[in-house]
């Protein structure tokens, strides 16, 4: 769906993008992460046709954004990181205004507006003035607005920052639903826990370059396997320790107060067998688990 090739952008003397190359497939919910100033917002603006790259190109469905800007803008919904709303305009009118910018007819607009406000549980606000809404409500409204033209591609720049947990959950579910309906979504966020829960794919960038990208499930699984098992105990007799040390799949046992941790290369069944062996040897174990892989850990690893 989106092919980014060797994208470069310099603001004055500050390089924002230094040859970013990245690919986002159709129907992916793509999480875009990176430290502050990595170039996420810049990339998204270029995709949305709001900024011209110095060199390199972006193809959306094989069409260059700089050449087919007008057509592509009709197929993209964009939520910027910072945005404002107009004074003296009601929520309903706000939606209708943006719909009219896409050349939608009156009836079509009303139907779509109603649908979207319903989808985001905002129907009861339709008569409110947009500038009187709170920040989180405005952000929700902006997401609804970005959907007004029924875009194939959604570009969301930190849409959930400033939203309360309930809205964040709603947004997450909405995005997953939209993705299942066949939309491609590119979302940047600093909340990695949330991204790992909803995204299908992820790309990490820093200093204007792609560090890694891939399927979230695969990445997490890979990480999980390399994570050590942690064992917390109430009593751990010598016999159990001897058993553990002599186990072929266990190496480098780290001993802490009331807990042990050790890398384990075996399968889940082998882990279960080891656990019952330890219990049989008289250990009283309160928990035994392998740390789940987390994007946060990955993020910290790749960006340093």
């Amino acid at each position: 769906m989106i092919k980014i090739r060797n994208l470069r952008k310099v603001y004055g003397d500050i390089p924002a993008l230094c040859g970013l190359t990245m690919e986002i497939g159709s129907c992916e919910l793509f999480g875009f992460v990176g430290p502050n100033g990595a170039g996420k917002t810049t990339t998204m603006k270029i995709i949305a046709g709001l900024l011209r790259a110095d060199s390199g190109e972006i193809l959306i469905d094989g069409e260059r954004v700089t050449v087919h800007a007008k057509k592509l803008k009709g197929e993209i919904g964009y939520v910027p990181d910072f945005f404002g709303v107009y004074d003296n305009l009601k929520v309903q009118e706000y939606m209708e205004f943006y719909a009219s910018l896409y050349g939608m007819s009156g009836r079509e607009t009303r139907k779509r507006t109603e649908e979207l406000l319903g989808m985001l549980n905002m129907t009861e606000w339709r008569e409110e003035m947009v500038d009187s809404l709170s920040r989180g409500m405005k952000q929700k409204l902006c997401v609804a607005r970005a959907l007004v033209n029924n875009p194939k591609l959604l570009v969301l720049d930190e849409p959930a920052s400033g939203m309360e947990p309930k809205y964040r959950r709603q947004l997450k579910e909405l995005l997953q639903q939209l993705c299942a309906e066949g939309k491609t979504i590119l979302i940047s966020s600093h909340n990695l826990q949330e991204l790992s829960e909803m995204c299908t794919n992820i790309g990490v960038i820093d200093k204007g370059r792609l560090l890694m990208q891939g399927n979230v499930q695969e990445i997490l699984q890979e990480q999980t396997i390399s994570n050590p098992y942690v064992l917390q105990y109430i009593r751990f007799p010598e016999e159990a320790m001897a058993l553990l040390k002599s186990h072929a799949l266990v190496k480098n046992i780290a001993i802490r107060e009331n807990s042990l941790s050790f890398p384990f290369t075996g399968t889940r069944e082998e882990a279960a067998a080891l656990l019952s062996g330890l219990v049989a040897a008289g250990a009283e174990i309160s928990s035994f688990f392998r740390e789940e892989g987390s994007l946060e850990k990955l993020f910290l690893e790749v960006t340093t």
């Binding site: 046709g49 964009y78 404002g84 107009y86 033209n149």
Partner: protein, 300 residues
């Protein structure tokens, strides 16, 4: 309704809801009405009592002064309204949202300009009842009024296009406002003063002294063509055709002969066309500058 520029439609809706609009309408019409009543009083009541004679040409003065008020209003309001048009969206961070949609930069620019001009037309039209005083006596026809309205609209487009241009170029509303008022002052006041100064200097060089008689000579030669871009001279030429006032300027331009004679006869139309041309060029440049994907001629 569907094909009306959406940016324009939204602006109108917002303007209609602003208290500022109402206050402006009230103040402006109150001023006009008070002034009209004053002239009426002077003409019929006082003059009638003092001399038993009513000078009906006073009504032309009334019309002229009301036109000046309307013209002055355009010069004062339009730079402020248009300067905020795009820079205001940029400051409020709504511009990116606008540009991310299918609407073209040209549509945005035109919608904004049209909205600003509608404000002026609204004021002009709202003052029609007051201006009707003039009709009650005669001397000015509806055709004249329509002419004048066209002149006001073209002036608003002309001055407004500078405002829009600065609004697109400047990041901040204040900077854009300062720039558009400065330009307005240069075009309206400084340009004729400068031309006069050059004229004076020339006369002084030729004959060694200068006097106030030189003032009446007005600006000569090709330089006078620059006045085509000066709204007050256009105003004078329009009013001259209607109320017979302000003939001097036209006559002295016409005295150059040739093209200038033709110009002095059709100054109003020619100057309005010239100003429209400038406006169209400025609107084009503004739209280009507003387009984020336009190639900018920056150093590589």
């Amino acid at each position: 309704m569907r094909h009306i520029n959406p940016v324009y439609k939204r602006e109108l809706k917002q303007t209609a809801r602003m208290k500022k609009t109402l206050v402006m309408l009230l103040v402006y019409n109150l001023l006009l009405a008070c002034f009209g009543l004053l002239v009426f009083y002077l003409m019929f009541d006082r003059d009638g009592r003092i001399s038993n004679r009513v000078e009906y040409s006073g009504i032309l003065t009334l019309y002229t002064v009301m036109s000046i008020l309307e013209f002055g209003m355009v010069l004062l309001i339009v730079p402020a309204v248009t300067a905020g048009a795009v820079a205001g969206e940029r400051e409020k961070q709504t511009l990116d949202l606008l540009l991310s949609t299918k609407v073209s930069p040209l549509q945005i620019v035109i919608g904004k300009l049209a909205a600003s001009i509608s404000m002026v037309i609204l004021l002009a039209v709202s003052s029609l009842p007051v201006l009707a005083i003039v009709f009650s006596i005669g001397g000015i026809t509806l055709f004249d009024m329509a002419n004048f309205l066209i002149f006001i609209i073209v002036t608003a487009i002309y001055i407004g296009s500078f405002g829009i241009f600065f609004s697109v170029c400047c990041k901040r509303v204040t900077v854009a406002t300062v720039c558009s008022y400065s330009t307005m002052i240069v075009l309206v006041i400084l340009l004729p003063i400068l031309l006069y100064a050059v004229e004076f200097a020339e006369v002084f060089r030729k004959i060694g002294y200068t006097s106030f008689t030189a003032l009446s000579r007005c600006i000569s030669g090709k330089r006078a063509l620059l006045l085509l871009f000066n709204p007050p001279v256009s105003f004078i030429s329009v009013i001259k055709n209607q109320a017979g006032r302000g003939g001097n300027v036209m006559a002295s331009i016409g005295s150059e002969g040739g093209v200038f004679y033709f110009l002095s006869k059709h100054w109003d139309i020619v100057s309005l066309l010239c100003q429209l041309l400038v406006a169209i060029v400025l609107i084009g440049i503004s739209a280009h500058k507003l387009n984020p994907l336009a190639k900018s001629r920056k150093r590589a």
